[in-house]
């Protein structure tokens, strides 16, 4: 190693040393901290976060969407889901006696949500699940429904849509509460009703009866396109009358 090599190495070492120091100095002076003060403020979780499997409610009637098919029980690799049910002779539907998830052993693998054929389970974002008493970690149906309310929507229970984005990919936060159950007789944890059940909605959820068909729009459009066939305005009118009658029926 000659003298030039010696000096050159020292020079290079010093240069890289200064570069490193300047990087840390910039980080110190010009980058704000990314710390979230956890108990005081909660961080937003990403859309794919898995907190706890929850039961959804159909907000139209207040029924739970679960049909006691036990697919989730089969899918669970650690056997934490307990399901007991009986058939209601009046409605011919399965009624849940007990549905519980033991969160002390649940490993949040998402398999139950993927297995659910009726989109009844959802992986919620709730992550503050600590309990003083470990036996409290068994989440019963009421807890699951109550926590799952904010992921629920008003929709008829039914099978998953074919060829659509799987609903279990991301939990959709709707922020619903118990007041958002639209049926007058509905309540949280209502068992499935008979097949032809038509809910009677609370007044604030009744859709207002639509006014007369928007004929002016069609008329204004007509002179602009005189070559358009005659059938178009009549079709729109038909559709409008149809929806109007439908709303009227629901109101009754």
């Amino acid at each position: 190693m000659g003298v030039t090599n010696f000096v050159g190495e020292a020079w290079n070492a010093g240069k890289s040393f200064i570069t490193g120091l300047s990087i840390t100095f910039k980080e110190m002076m010009f980058r704000p901290p990314i710390t979230v003060f956890y108990p005081d403020e909660l961080d937003d979780v990403p859309a794919w976060a898995r907190g706890i499997p929850l039961q959804k409610t159909d907000l139209l009637t207040g029924e739970y969407k679960c049909t006691s098919c036990a697919m989730c029980v089969d899918a669970c690799p650690v056997n934490v889901i307990t399901l007991e049910w009986h058939q209601d002779p009046a409605t011919k539907k399965k009624v849940i006696d007990r549905y519980a998830i033991d969160m002390s052993r649940c490993m949040l693998c998402n398999y139950c949500i993927e297995a659910c054929p009726f989109d009844s389970l959802v992986m919620g974002y709730d992550y503050e699940l600590c309990k003083v008493d470990p036996t409290m970690l068994v989440y019963e149906m009421e807890d699951l429904l109550r926590m799952g309310l904010k992921y629920s929507k008003a929709e008829q229970p039914g099978p998953k849509a074919k060829n659509a984005l799987p609903p279990w990919l991301f939990a959709e936060l709707t922020g619903a509460t118990e007041d958002d159950i639209q049926d007058e007789n509905g309540y949280l944890g209502r068992p499935p009703q008979a097949k032809g059940y038509v809910p009677s909605l609370k007044p604030q959820f009744q859709k207002p009866v639509e006014e007369a068909p928007p004929a002016p729009a069609a008329e204004a459009k007509a002179p602009a396109a005189p070559a358009a066939p005659k059938e178009t305005p009549t079709q729109t009118a038909l559709v409008n009358t149809e929806t109007g009658t439908k709303d009227g029926e629901e109101a009754k």
Binding site: L21, I23, T24, F25, E27, R31, P33, T35, F37
Partner: protein, 396 residues
């Protein structure tokens, strides 16, 4: 107070003075530990985009006190078959050796515990003291990691001790004295920016690197390399015994920084209120070109207020400022560079730093000889260069 003190017998004065000074030094060491440790945690947090300790005190700045209290009440867990006395004494030996450095540090004009005329040699002596503590703890712990860490620490510290002292020799040659207060006085006499930082820049850089290695700090913290040896020589310590090692580490850091500030940055020298006022007065007077009342008043005020205890306060403040500049530099380096390997460390020490420090001694000697020998002779270029380097004995 002075009367009472003078009325005491010389023996009582010696003992009481020693007790008071020792207490002050220990308290000062503890205070510096708290500040330096908090600074380290905060600086590391800022460099990593965190906030650091946040809950105790204002933004967590008093975290050191609960930490020490917690360590004080913790259980001493002692492994079987330790060499008891070595194991127990080692941490406190390290603590004592860290505090010893403070004895000769000039905090201000005349503010020294012992104004030793062989101050530099004293420093060289007590660096060896710390090696003993580390090796005692490593040997006494009956643990392979502790022993490995202690062996590494001993090898590292003994080899870097040579370099450290060699890098200081240049300063001693320029100052012509081993007394630390003399070194500061000479730096003040050299005038504006007469610090030994510029003429001894090679020695300064070598001292910086060697003192980091001597302190067992990253990137040279091989004695307690967490990724290889669990915690090195203090693996088997818990409670306040472990805390004593931590105390020693940070007190050592601040003490070595204060030595660096004394040797290279002019110690307690700096502007005082007198100099600020007279300088401001000169500026307002246009350096005599347009004298006015305000400038004259400022200069007169400065002339009337020379002396007094404020001088000591200013000296102390400048000293602390310069010391913590070095403390911050050490932390900055620690949170920037990764740890080196043991062979790289030895290569750096023996093959690079030691030759460079010897070359620095040679260069300083030659330049000093030229400066003294040809002072006043019309070697314009040479004297100008020497002046520029700050190696001229007297700038007058």
């Amino acid at each position: 107070m002075a009367e009472w003190w003078n009325g005491l017998s010389p023996v009582a004065q010696t003992w009481l003075g020693a007790l008071g000074k020792g207490t002050l030094i220990l308290v000062w060491g503890l205070a510096n530990f708290a500040i330096a440790m908090m600074l380290e945690r905060k600086v590391s947090a800022w460099m990593q985009n965190r906030v650091g300790p946040w809950r105790s005190g204002l933004h967590g700045w008093v975290q050191a006190i609960p930490d020490l209290l917690k360590l004080y009440v913790k259980e001493y867990i002692q492994p079987r078959n330790v060499d008891y006395w070595l194991y127990v004494i080692a941490p406190f030996m390290g603590y004592v050796s860290a505090n010893l450095v403070w004895l000769i540090v000039p905090f201000g004009p005349g503010l020294t515990v012992i104004n030793l005329d062989i101050g530099i040699i004293f420093i060289a002596a007590i660096t060896g003291y710390d090696v003993i503590a580390i090796f005692m703890s490593g040997w006494g712990s009956n643990n392979k990691y502790s022993l490995l860490g202690a062996m590494r620490g001993a090898a590292q510290m003994i080899s870097y001790e040579v370099t450290l002292v060699m890098s200081i020799i240049g300063v001693v040659m320029m100052a012509g004295s081993l007394r630390l207060s003399d070194i500061v006085e000479i730096q003040i006499q050299r005038g504006f920016m007469g610090w030994f930082l510029l003429p001894q820049i090679i020695g300064f850089i070598v001292y910086l690197i060697a003192s980091l290695a001597e302190l067992n700090r990253a990137p040279f913290d091989l004695a307690e390399a967490e990724s290889e040896l669990v915690s090195g020589y203090h693996t088997e310590y818990s409670g306040f015994r472990w805390a004593a090692f931590m105390l020693a580490e940070y007190i050592h850091l601040v003490a070595w920084s204060s030595i660096a500030a004394t040797l290279f940055l002019g110690g307690w020298s700096g502007f005082t209120h007198v100099e600020i006022a007279s300088g401001l007065g000169n500026l307002i007077n246009g350096f005599g070109n347009f004298q006015n009342g305000v400038g004259d008043a400022l200069i007169n005020w400065a002339a009337a207020h020379t002396g007094g205890w404020l001088i000591y306060l200013w000296g102390f403040l400048w000293f602390c400022l310069k010391t913590y500049l070095f403390v911050f530099l050490a932390m900055w380096i620690r949170w920037t560079l990764p740890r080196v390997r043991i062979d790289q460390l030895m290569d750096l020490g023996w093959k690079f730093l030691l030759p460079v420090s010897l070359f620095n001694i040679f260069l300083t000697g030659v330049l000093r000889f030229l400066a003294v020998e040809y002072n006043g002779l019309p070697i314009q270029l040479g004297s100008f260069t020497l002046r520029l380097l700050g190696l001229w004995a007297n700038p007058m």
